[in-house]
């Protein structure tokens, strides 16, 4: 039962990711003719500037990036009608590489996409995982603590709604302006990692890394915990009107005991669904946050790739985000039966 649900989710996500990546790939390759595309690639790479004047080099580059083949299996030519190309196409080659786990070669960085991504993940993994954990903890803590303090609750809900409506980059910029500004409070580094820090790997100096990630994590948490907390608060209020809460009160449970032992167990179920949105949205938020704080992570990589039209990196990043969503979905599938005995399979 559980396996079937998980399998359906895996299949659905893979189909969705394949469709989105295919559409992006075909669009990115079809909007420009090979020559101007080549120029675009080479221009963003200073080492190869000026090489395009020679036709032979141009041909070599076309071969190197696999741009000499037709794009899709079948194409429509006005003169000859439909034309079938078989498997010698850019799309087929790209798909085959993708299935072998080869994400291609970055135009701009002159390195395999997978290496670039791995390098970036060293910063993004701690950032997003810590932000996700803190968001969940903060949402749980605030929603439960304010659930039996009505005046505090009203303020917290108002603040959460206001926070939720802010664009994330504004929050991050505000934090940067207040807490990492030589003119105001200079508690945190304003711009990412210095040259010395970049040489040491992210794992060898966790303290320094944590210090540099503080502000980005705070902005990600401020951006993502309100949605969780509002949902949890609504569910808790709904549970508070149920008869079993009256029973618990009547038998003399403390307010905190009622929340944690009775209401939360039921209220957390709809929130688990939000968890599937939380991780991908934090990854999306890291696009903005890493640009603001100049961290060399996955989000910055995506934003730079978008800016420079470095499509292999862009496609790899989008695929990775889709996989993160799949992971979150599977996590929720596992969590549901643990939290709710009613949907556990009978043994």
């Amino acid at each position: 039962m559980l396996g079937a649900v998980a399998l359906r989710h895996i299949l659905r996500t893979i189909v969705a990711a394949w469709l989105i990546l295919s559409v992006l790939f075909l669009l990115s390759r079809s909007t420009a003719d090979p020559d101007s595309q080549l120029r675009n690639m080479v221009e963003s790479n200073s080492r190869m500037g000026g090489l395009l004047e020679q036709p032979a080099t141009s041909q070599q580059l076309l071969h190197r990036y696999g741009l000499y083949e037709p794009l899709f299996y079948a194409t429509w030519q006005p003169a000859t009608g439909w034309h079938w190309h078989g498997v010698q196409t850019q799309y087929h080659r790209w798909l085959k590489q993708l299935l072998h786990g080869d994400l291609g070669y970055s135009y701009r960085l002159e390195a395999p996409v997978w290496d670039v991504v791995k390098q970036a993940l060293r910063y993004t993994l701690p950032l997003t995982l810590l932000a996700a954990a803190l968001s969940i903890a903060l949402a749980l803590g605030v929603a439960t603590a304010t659930s039996y303090r009505p005046s505090a609750r009203r303020w917290f809900i108002r603040v959460a709604h206001i926070l939720q409506s802010f664009p994330l980059f504004l929050l991050a910029l505000g934090l940067l302006l207040l807490l990492a500004n030589p003119d105001a409070l200079s508690w945190f580094p304003a711009f990412g990692l210095g040259p010395a820090d970049q040489e040491s790997t992210g794992w060898s100096r966790p303290g320094l890394l944590l210090y540099q990630l503080t502000l980005p994590i705070i902005s990600l948490v401020l951006g993502s915990f309100p949605a969780l907390a509002i949902q949890l608060d609504g569910a808790l209020r709904h549970e508070f009107n149920r008869p079993y809460i009256a029973t618990a009160r009547a038998k003399g449970s403390s307010p905190a005991g009622i929340v944690w032992r009775h209401a939360l167990r039921n209220a957390v179920l709809p929130t688990v669904t939000l968890l599937t949105e939380l991780l991908p949205s934090i990854v999306a938020g890291s696009v903005v946050v890493e640009v603001v704080f100049a961290l060399p992570g996955m989000g910055r990589l995506l934003a730079d790739a978008a800016l420079n039209q470095d499509f292999p990196v862009l496609l790899g990043g989008v695929g990775l985000v889709a996989m993160v969503r799949l992971g979150a979905q599977l996590l929720a599938d596992v969590l549901y039966p643990i939290l709710d005995p009613r949907i556990r399979p009978e043994v």
Partner: protein, 322 residues
């Protein structure tokens, strides 16, 4: 929301929004030349009240002109988002998976129209608007008047609900921001491009709301009565279900505008949104990356975005309570 607010705040919110709209309407369209003698100037000095950027652009004038861009992007995008949501959500909710049954002839007609549109678009991309408007209209006329639509034959059920839900799942499988950034990278969008991109990616939420509302209305006795009276489906949707389901979307209009403003400014901030020569609040904020100590580059546009988004929320809150 249960919080009762003094009407002063509502009036302030409405006042700010009117101010933004007026600023957008009366903004000068000519791009003012950069004042290269006074770059990075703090506010309240010289001729530049709100300071200048590192390119010598006056922040106040950029904000003023950015208000027009804001209106030009967010209002049409919100309209098209809600329109697409209403049409797709209403279709999915009303017909479901089994209730729209068409003959083979009608299916062939629809496929032919689709193919014709595609072919015409590849050959005459310049007349895209007329093709997109004309071919579906001609197909609709043919649908209504040609025999075969009335002749009873074997009919196929169109799984509309599943396909639209599948489309929603497809768009939702990647976070909105990542999807928009990736799509904007493929082709640097123009103004209409940004509007199209935003509405093409933001419609799932209103569509889901509209589908739920339509499903609710569909089971009401008055819809059954209308169906029993033989009123055509489109008329039922427009005259009987629409007035009851559409308010669900209309109260979301300010919120949709707020979401779109956040998305658009984020895009511009990342540098993949509107073309560089268009003044926009997000691009003004992005200028701070060239000059980190210039606090006024964050303060004024940030304040403008914050006030706009909060005002929109306040307005929508007032409509929710009514």
């Amino acid at each position: 929301m249960t919080i009762l607010l003094p009407p002063v705040k509502q009036r302030l919110a409405a006042g700010w929004l009117v101010l933004v709209v007026l600023a957008g309407l009366f903004a000068p369209s000519a791009v003012s030349p950069p004042d290269l003698a006074n770059i990075n100037q703090p506010p309240f000095q010289g001729g530049h009240w709100l300071g200048t950027t590192s390119q010598g652009l006056d922040v106040g004038v950029s904000l003023w002109q950015g208000a027009r861009t804001l209106l030009l992007v967010s209002l049409p995008a919100a309209f098209f988002t809600l329109l697409a949501g209403a049409v797709l959500g209403g279709t999915a909710g009303y017909w479901g998976n089994t209730r729209l049954r068409i003959t083979h002839f009608q299916l062939a007609l629809a496929l032919f129209a689709l193919l014709l549109t595609g072919l015409l678009l590849t050959y005459f991309p310049r007349f895209a608007f007329w093709i997109l408007a004309g071919v579906p209209a001609a197909a609709a006329v043919a649908w209504a008047f040609l025999p075969g639509s009335t002749r009873s034959a074997t009919r196929l059920a169109l799984p509309l609900d599943s396909s639209i839900l599948g489309l929603i799942a497809l768009v939702n499988s990647v976070p909105l921001l990542v999807l928009v950034v990736a799509a904007a990278a493929v082709q640097r969008p123009s103004l209409t491009g940004v509007v199209a991109l935003l509405s093409a990616t933001c419609w799932p939420t209103p569509a889901r709301l509209m589908r739920a509302a339509t499903l609710q209305c569909r089971t009401q006795p008055y819809v059954e009565a209308a169906q029993a009276a033989g009123i055509p489906s489109l008329r039922i949707l427009w005259r009987h279900i629409g007035p009851n389901a559409l308010p669900v979307l209309l109260v979301r209009f300010p919120l949709t505008v707020a979401v779109l403003i956040s998305l658009e400014t984020t895009l511009s901030f990342l540098g993949v949104g509107l073309p560089a020569e268009m003044p926009s609040w997000g691009r003004l904020l992005a200028a701070v990356r060239q000059a980190p100590p210039d606090w006024w580059l964050i303060l004024w546009p940030g304040l403008a975005i914050t006030l706009t988004v909060l005002s929109l929320q306040r307005i929508s809150g007032s409509e929710n309570r009514r």
